[in-house]
């Protein structure tokens, strides 16, 4: 469902322009507000809808298969760590859903540079960062032996 922007809500802040993975949210030069310049390259991913501080962006199902009169609205609240959805059918029925989006505070992931530096031995091993501990298994990183791989039809 390609996105569109409500004229009276958009203030031209450009958050949607910054986030759109398809580079299709642009600022209209006359109105100084955002709009979808290329609806047929819209994946309906809702990245712009979620990012809009004014709730100015909505989506209308693709004209080639979606009858009018529906809506799928979203509210993503980073502070609360939730996302809420309201699905409205063409016939007026509604469904509501809420899910968690993150269990930790935003910005708290440490850089791997904060870990103790690897030893020369570590570079030669097959282990990656945090391994083998983070695998949480006995016996270390699993491995095959070269003789276990053979040509033929299995």
């Amino acid at each position: 469902m390609p996105t569109f922007v409500y004229m009276t809500r958009c203030d031209g802040c450009g958050h949607c322009v910054d986030i759109c993975p398809s580079d299709i949210m642009h600022i209209d030069k006359t109105y100084r507000r955002a709009y979808n310049i290329e609806p047929n390259m819209c994946w309906e991913c809702y990245s712009c809808v979620k990012a809009c501080p004014q709730n100015a962006i909505d989506a209308r199902g693709y004209a080639d298969f979606a009858p009018l009169g529906h809506s799928v609205r979203v509210l993503r609240e980073e502070d609360k760590g939730t996302i809420s959805w309201k699905v409205k059918f063409r016939n007026g029925h509604e469904k509501n859903f809420e899910s968690p989006i993150r269990t930790t505070k935003w910005g708290t992931i440490p850089s791997p540079a904060e870990l103790p530096p690897p030893s020369e031995e570590d570079y030669k091993s097959q282990e990656l960062a945090h391994e083998p501990d983070v695998l949480n298994i006995d016996g270390g990183l699993p491995a095959l032996t070269p003789d276990q791989l053979k040509k033929g039809v299995v």
């Binding site: 469902m1 986030i19 759109c20 993975p21 398809s22 580079d23 642009h26 609806p39 047929n40 819209c42 994946w43 309906e44 991913c45 809702y46 990245s47 199902g61 693709y62 004209a63 080639d64 298969f65 979606a66 009858p67 009018l68 009169g69 529906h70 809506s71 799928v72 979203v74 959805w85 409205k88 059918f89 063409r90 029925h93 859903f97 899910s99 989006i101 269990t103 930790t104 505070k105 910005g107 708290t108 992931i109 850089s111 791997p112 540079a113 870990l115 690897p118 990656l128 960062a129 945090h130 983070v134 695998l135 949480n136 298994i137 699993p142 095959l144 791989l149 040509k151 039809v153 299995v154």
Partner: protein, 614 residues
């Protein structure tokens, strides 16, 4: 002095250059910092890594998790599963390598804050299926992007990488990449000691089912523009299994995923008359592929095949029986949240068409084909295997290094490793990054040098579509029809039509043969000539122009590979009408191609398949 000589050239020096900031690129960037504490690690992304790549809108499941800590699966089990699903042909050395590491990536995701669904009694992750675990993954990508940003020296957003650069001293060694900033128009020259291509696979090389406004509603993201393949192909890296495109059985129009429906909700399919149909086509399928039809689970392509045969027999549409499962409110919630978490468009289609799966069994369809390397398919670059056990024929350098020195890959880029999905792609990025750091350590002072001639020539080539438009536009009054240039959308639609009609798209029922492929190559050749005249009105259209050029190169590769493999290995993905049967005598092998830029020739060869035998 050309029209666009005012554009600045920016030089960026790095040790490790990661191209593409999706799951694989974020994994590579993160891991590169662990091993390369003092290295300059640069990640360059066409969009914004906060929401880029195939996971931009989220995921509701992680489809590759062993669960070794609970003894649920071992890596070799996953290898057998992927081998079986891909009709015997996967790089088992690479697949095992991902499987042995993937749990560690998933455990980090949880630690970083990704909400995992857990069984309250056992504390284990809730299994959707044998390999899949369920997550509340709306913010999967922003979380992973945060880890990558913390690790990178710098992330460059909104730069479309168009070409790799080669070392001017040592032949066959990569030295960096060039591209342009989609916002400022500046030309970027990235100089690097090692390059990891972690770009996206290919949507929009085949005509999609949706028309007009809906053409963006492809199964794989429309921004996956085949850079994963075009970048290595241009510099002569060998590619493998490019014919192994994938066709997806999905909910109609929205392409909403069916995995959770089949595996977790236990919904099932039936034909228009309420009958089970897969068993009807058992003998038919067996005649094509022999014993492969008896494997469990039934390979994805063969289930597609039964679906297609049932439609041809006039008993469509095929529907998913949801009415029973959706009476359970918990399952109903899972069914809806599954879409809202990763394919919002399907929820919109159902809302618009008043399809409530509690009361209506929704229709399914088979998608147009896609070329990618991380789902139930494995197109991509031919890469060196893990040092500790890969056979000699799979080992010529560092893990995940392609056949070009210093050029590594991960995710959609690397061929032969099906079923890695999001977690496996991230993990493969980590594997590639450690190898790339080791490559740099061993390089010593012998660092690659970029050639000014090379990047200056590329600079002219990169901006040519803007010049074509500016000159040609003056010839016409207004509108989109010009005798001297093609617009990117016009070229894209021609590409999609050629691939659809000649290389096994939806309009032929995924059927092709040698005469069709031969004609397809001729038409792709003239399209390639026409793309020298592509016209871009602005920087956004310049991005579209280069995406199209990448898609065309990948399409040519797909067509050559499809021609080379004289059998039908994956009925349900595509059919060679002139070789309708699977042929293990001649074709139990990988197909490899190498493109020579100077001559425009594609060299094809076979490579052996090694299996885990025990």
């Amino acid at each position: 002095m050309g029209l666009f000589s005012r554009r600045k050239t920016q030089f960026v020096d790095s040790d490790v250059l990661v191209i593409g900031g999706g799951m694989a690129g974020c994994g590579a960037t993160y891991e590169a910092r662990h091993w390369g504490r003092d290295l300059n690690i640069v990640c360059v992304e066409k969009a914004n890594i906060e929401r880029s790549g195939a996971v931009a809108q989220g995921l509701y499941a992680i489809n590759c998790y062993m669960g070794m800590q609970w003894d649920e699966n071992q890596p070799e089990d996953h290898v057998r599963y992927a081998r079986n699903d891909l009709m015997g042909l996967v790089r088992e050395d690479l697949g095992y390598d991902i499987a042995r590491h993937v749990d560690s990536s998933v455990h980090k995701f949880e630690e970083w804050g990704l909400p995992m669904m857990k069984d309250p009694e056992t504390g284990r992750y809730v299994r959707e299926g044998k390999w899949q675990i369920m997550i509340h993954g709306e913010s999967y990508k922003p979380i992973v992007a945060e880890a990558a940003r913390k690790a990178a020296t710098k992330v460059y957003n909104r730069i479309m990488v168009t070409h790799l650069l080669m070392d001017k001293e040592k032949e066959g060694r990569v030295a960096g990449a060039v591209g342009f900033n989609v916002r400022t128009g500046d030309f970027y020259v990235f100089r690097a000691k090692a390059v990891i291509v972690a770009a996206g696979g290919a949507s929009h090389i085949y005509k999609p089912r949706a028309v007009g406004e809906g053409m963006g509603r492809t199964w794989y993201a429309p921004w996956s523009s085949a850079s994963a393949y075009a970048l290595p192909i241009q510099v002569g890296a060998k590619m493998t299994q490019m014919e192994n495109r994938i066709v997806l059985t999905r909910f109609k129009d929205g392409y909403g995923p069916v995995g959770a429906y089949f595996l977790h909700l236990k919904t099932y399919t039936e034909n228009a008359y309420g009958n089970e149909y897969e068993s009807t086509w058992y003998e038919n399928t067996k005649a094509l592929v022999g014993d492969y039809v008896d494997r469990h689970p039934v390979p994805t392509c063969l289930r597609n095949h039964a679906f297609l045969e049932e439609l041809k027999a006039g008993r469509g549409p095929i529907r998913m029986v949801t009415k029973e499962a959706f009476q359970d409110p918990h399952k109903e919630t899972v069914g809806w949240e599954n879409f809202l978490g990763m394919t919002v468009g399907q929820a919109v289609v159902w809302a618009a068409q008043d399809i409530d799966p509690k009361y209506t069994n929704p229709e399914l369809t088979t998608s147009e084909p896609y070329v990618m390397g991380s789902h139930a398919t494995c197109s991509g670059a031919w890469a060196s295997g893990p040092e500790d056990y890969a056979p000699d024929e799979y080992q010529w350098g560092y893990n995940r290094m392609m056949t070009v020195d210093g050029l590594f890959g991960a995710g959609d880029t690397i061929g032969g490793t099906a079923h890695k999905f999001s977690s496996g792609s991230f993990t493969e990025g980590r594997i590639a990054a450690k190898a790339a750091v080791n490559y740099i350590k061993d390089m010593g002072k012998d660092a690659p040098q970029v050639s000014e001639d090379e990047y200056e020539n590329l600079r002219k080539e990169v901006y040519k579509p803007l010049e074509n438009y500016e000159i040609g536009r003056n010839e016409i009054v207004a509108g989109t029809v010009s005798p001297s240039y093609l617009l990117p959308i016009q070229g894209l639609q021609r590409l999609e039509k050629i691939m659809d009609e000649y290389v096994g798209g939806i309009s032929t029922g995924y059927m092709t043969n040698e005469p069709l492929l031969t004609r397809g190559l001729e038409l792709l050749g003239t399209l390639r000539e026409d793309l020298d005249k592509i016209g871009a009105e602005d920087l956004h259209q310049l991005q579209r122009a280069w995406e199209l050029k990448h898609r065309l190169l990948a399409s040519e590769s797909v067509t050559h590979h499809t021609m080379f493999r004289e059998e039908t290995r994956w009925p349900g993905y595509y059919y060679r009408g002139d070789h309708m049967k699977l042929d293990d005598n001649d074709w139990h092998c990988f197909t490899l191609s190498q493109y020579h830029q100077e001559t425009g020739e594609w060299a094809m060869e076979k490579a052996p398949v090694y299996h885990i035998v025990d």
